[in-house]
């Protein structure tokens, strides 16, 4: 191939000079990856000794021997509020409340975080930068970390879960909302301004009609995500059905754990379907 260039007296391009099979850069990259994987194996010392095939099949099958006793109060000290189905409903509402709280805060903030609304003078431009930075910080801290930190304030329970979830979600929804505002067609803004409308009227008449559908769509999408995340919150003390799942596994009640997992799967699937239907209709 290099002949094409040499025969014409042209310089041979570097990618033709190297033999891919013997190129030291390529070989050393492969060697480095293998070395890192080897070191990783030594450090993590992954031990699968316990999981012989028979044992694995046994445990998995136990997960399918659903224990329906968790669906009703098991002794005189328990009420319906201790049943798994009630916990599941509670968990769904954890997700709904977290979405609602974050929406209330993200909605007004998103206007301050939209470049096309805030450019013009240095003060608003500074507010824009601060709000966007806030969104980035909120998003960068994982939900479970926030919930654990909030345990110090609220103690274990739904409060830590809801606000932990909302905290992270303000960052995500704020960013999505702001970008929806930034994506609008500026033409109508100009036209409405030209009619003599004031700033609030311009936003009311030309910005809002353009963002309602994206806002509803993003909110449903985050609701879907939050309901999906809510069962996990219990694992770190954030309330909901996650705690029951965690305890069931700890005390080897695999039948109960399997049923809870099934309920979560059904909920998430239903949420997914609902979210997709609504969003499809909005486009």
């Amino acid at each position: 191939m290099a002949d094409y260039f040499t025969s014409r007296g042209l310089p041979v391009p570097p990618e033709l000079q190297r033999n891919p099979l013997t190129d030291w850069r390529r070989l050393s990259l492969i060697a480095a990856v293998l070395l890192i994987l080897y070191i990783g194996l030594r450090i993590t010392a992954i031990d699968t000794g316990r999981a012989n095939p028979e044992y694995v099949i046994n445990r998995i099958s136990l997960l399918f021997h659903w224990d329906f006793s968790i669906m009703s109060p098991r002794d005189e000290f328990e009420t319906y509020q201790n049943t798994a189905w009630w916990k599941m409903i509670e968990t769904i509402f954890l997700g709904i409340m977290a979405t609602a709280f974050s929406m209330i805060i993200a909605l007004p903030l998103s206007f301050l975080g939209a470049r096309n609304i805030m450019t013009g003078n240095p003060i608003t431009a500074a507010i824009y930068a601060v709000v966007r930075l806030l969104f980035t910080i909120l998003r960068s801290i994982d939900v479970l970390i926030v919930v654990i930190v909030l345990l110090a304030i609220f103690g274990p329970g739904n409060a830590a879960g809801v606000f932990g979830l909302a905290f992270h979600n303000i960052g995500v929804m704020g960013k999505l909302y702001s970008e929806a505002i930034e994506g609008i067609d500026a033409g109508p803004l100009e036209a409405i301004t030209a009619t003599g409308a004031n700033r609030v009227q311009v936003i009311w008449a030309s910005v809002l009609p353009q963002i309602t559908n994206p806002f509803i769509s993003f909110t449903i999408y985050r609701l879907d995500t939050n309901v999906r995340l809510a069962p996990i919150l219990g694992l770190v003390g954030g309330g909901g059905i996650g705690l029951d799942l965690f305890q069931a596994i700890q005390i080897s009640q695999y039948g109960a754990a399997g049923l809870i997992i099934f309920m979560i799967v059904v909920t998430v699937a239903a949420m997914d379907f609902f979210s997709a239907q609504v969003r499809k209709r909005l486009v």
């Binding site: 067609d185 033409g187 109508p188 100009e190 036209a191 409405i192 301004t193 030209a194 009619t195 003599g196 409308a197 004031n198 609030v200 009227q201 009311w204 008449a205 030309s206 009609p209 353009q210 559908n213």
Partner: protein
């Protein structure tokens, strides 16, 4: 009678350093149909937007009906704006909203913020919306979504929205540049009608010289942000045309059988379409 718009030494330098307007001075009398022509980038859009201060001039003075637009505060500029209608190349309708609510938006300058948010449109405004939609011939599409309409229809909604302001002056920024030739004539005829019947002064930028000759009572050519020609449409001969558009430019035709859209340098008309009334007669356009 004093001019409705009086522009003196208007300069606009954009932050990028572009000198869009470089000392424009002109007066527009009531009832005129002024056509602005010139190459892309010659300052037509900027000049129009300086009149209602959508663009903030760098220096110079714009006076609208005795009011110094360039010195007006926020409230005063809104009062000036609502007396000036404007239509745009891209129509600038809220695409998802109905034709009806787009037209009603033309009344915003006359309503309080509170009534905009909490109130319903007044009976008078609703009646005016249907009347204006009727004038531009699309009352039957009032409750369609704006983006369901064709380009020509959308521009007519734009005209109806501007008419809601009961304007004394209409600014039209390339109103037909996104439309095909036949539709262009129909939109221009509505502008001509509001100019002649309602006595609304029109300042309209156009690419095609044939349209300028057909509809304008006066043509102003901009070149490099300065006025290169100001006079009667038929005074633009071959030599003046070359002055405005450059030596390489050739007149192209807008009329039946030609494609839409001007090429980069060459804009304008042909001898064939000079008699635009016959051209529109051949197109079977409504003779209003």
């Amino acid at each position: 009678m004093p001019p409705i718009v009086s522009i003196k030494d208007l300069v606009k330098v954009f932050p990028s350093g572009t000198r869009a307007l470089d000392g424009v001075t002109l007066d527009v009398q009531r009832g005129e149909f002024v056509v602005l022509i010139g190459l892309s980038g010659s300052g037509k859009s900027t000049l129009l937007r300086c009149v209602n201060r959508l663009v903030e001039p760098t220096s110079g003075v714009v006076v609208f009906d005795g009011i110094d637009v360039t010195a007006a505060d926020r409230t005063a500029i809104r009062r000036v704006r609502r007396r000036i209608g404007m239509i745009f190349q891209q129509f600038n309708l809220v695409r998802r909203s109905s034709v009806f609510s787009n037209v009603l938006a033309g009344r915003l300058g006359y309503r309080s913020t509170w009534r905009t948010i909490a109130g319903r449109p007044s009976t008078g405004d609703v009646a005016a919306a249907f009347e204006n939609l009727g004038r531009v011939g699309i009352a039957d599409r009032a409750f369609s979504r704006a983006d369901a309409l064709s380009g020509g229809q959308q521009q007519r909604v734009g005209i109806a929205r501007a008419l809601m302001q009961k304007p004394e002056l209409m600014l039209a920024d390339e109103p037909v540049a996104s439309l095909d030739p036949a539709t262009s004539h129909s939109v221009m005829k509505y502008l001509e009608e509001i100019n002649k019947k309602d006595g609304i002064t029109v300042i309209c930028s156009l690419h095609f010289l044939s349209l300028a000759r057909r509809y304008g009572t006066r043509v102003i050519a901009l070149k490099g942000g300065r006025v290169a020609f100001d006079g009667k449409p038929d005074a633009i001969d071959e030599r003046r045309f070359k002055e405005i558009y450059g030596e390489d430019a050739e007149e192209v035709e807008i009329g039946p059988g030609t494609g839409p859209g001007p090429s980069a340098a060459a804009a304008a008309a042909s001898a064939l379409a000079d008699d635009a009334s016959t051209a529109s007669a051949r197109l079977g356009l409504p003779d209003r």
